[in-house]
Symmetry: C2
Subunit: 306 residues, 2 copies
Amino acid sequence: MKKKMFIGVDIGGTNIKSAFVRNGTIEKRMKLPTKAQSGVTEVIKQIKAAIRPFVADASGVGIGIAGIIDSRTGMVRYSPNLSGWNDITLGQILKQEFRLPVKILNDVNAVCLGEWQYGAAKGYDNVFLFTLGTGVGGAAICEGKPLFGANGFAGEFGHTVIKFNGPPCTCNNYGCLERYVGAKFIVANAKRRMRKGRSSLRRYKKLTPKIIAQEAKKGDKISKEVFSEIGFYVGIGVINIIALFDPDVIVISGGVSRAGRVLFDPVRKTVAKRLLGAQFRNYKIIPAQLGDDAGVIGAVYFASSA
Amino acid sequence: MKKKMFIGVDIGGTNIKSAFVRNGTIEKRMKLPTKAQSGVTEVIKQIKAAIRPFVADASGVGIGIAGIIDSRTGMVRYSPNLSGWNDITLGQILKQEFRLPVKILNDVNAVCLGEWQYGAAKGYDNVFLFTLGTGVGGAAICEGKPLFGANGFAGEFGHTVIKFNGPPCTCNNYGCLERYVGAKFIVANAKRRMRKGRSSLRRYKKLTPKIIAQEAKKGDKISKEVFSEIGFYVGIGVINIIALFDPDVIVISGGVSRAGRVLFDPVRKTVAKRLLGAQFRNYKIIPAQLGDDAGVIGAVYFASSA
């Protein structure tokens, strides 16, 4: 890492966040609407606009984006949030525009690199990070190296199966973890329980995992039951992660992870109770530290180390 | 890998296999009873006897052994096949005896290294190998590096959960893969089905997965149904592996893997049908190539590269 100033970009379905980053610290930042519905050309225009103000002093650009990314060629093969993004050579396009090196990677891989270099997983050689939100993504560091895998899709935690005869998932499989703990399934879980008992959740017109977590912390029984069940499912997923990767740390990131102890307690309890060889293992299950900044910081690390 | 001649040892619950290996090729071999029931001292005596004949020309010793192994210190922390083996400093003991470098690793990790360097997974950077037999073990190569994990237990495929509310497993958890596809559960599956219909399996006094596979190949309906169900469960496990590791190849090893197509067909079918993003992925599900020799060859590779 010779050059120290890079531009980090986090392309989401709603907003593009960009930042000027020096040694893992954000010095300036910017946010623009993605305009995902306006088509590929318009989104690329927005990405360029998010990069341009920082270009003068930067040595390169790192970009995190949801989807199937070929980091070697800088190609976005498919992005679930951006309609029409199939085999878009984003790296090439931006390289030509700005005459700077551009590196692109999956957004959750970016978050994982950020937390590994500067956040919750700093100093560890074996890390698994996952995000809990609308979807459930994941990424791993194995023996001190980021794991991308043969096709660049390693870490697809949300579509690991925790019940082979479970309910159908959008991915065509059954009983995927995301089908139990994705944001809308947390809300559906709460609604199902609310039919059977009193709950402070009734005061809200539109439920979100955040509201349910808040009410759980205030003592609402049904909200606590929801997170206890969600935490159990997440714990089963974590057991599979620990069995396979044996990481030093499991970092939980994403909006739902901010629920705090109402989530982490049942996750940790499930793992401690059911994990093979728990007595021989050192592992930690901890929250992410960098919040929404992890993506741009990790994308910059990727660009600066590649 | 400067020095080319090493001794490889594979310590099983019944036999100790040792070999003199040059460039991945076994030149001489030996087999002794483990005498696992006679206590730690007796087993160590057998291990020494299996090494001694090859010592004169060797540059080091590599040992694969089932259990929880601390490869850095050469300590066997726990071995399920050997009673009383808790925190045994096997590496130290053998180093003092033979004045040679000694490296110890988990047996399935040894098999994986062997198949990666000289067998079915040769040339690939991302590999997951698992063994189907009495138990179900696993090991991974990630981005060209063997994955041991924080505590040395990575790859514990048999105790990944495929049904969180499934039947209890010996490990204290529920619905582990091994609980569905371990050898005795394959036999139990066949016996359950035999109660309901005619089967050529009735001719056998004692059923084994091998016999069931043979009868399946000959066309016995119940035997085919057994392997079709077993293959489905293995396929679900493989989906979780591919989702998380995105390997180039998944190698299936161990006695049950010799069932051939009656096993591999339903595994491949399940994965192709249910795997997220199958259209974007290159992966292969293939049988191991080195058979019973993979362990000693892989242990030698470990000793020679460490």
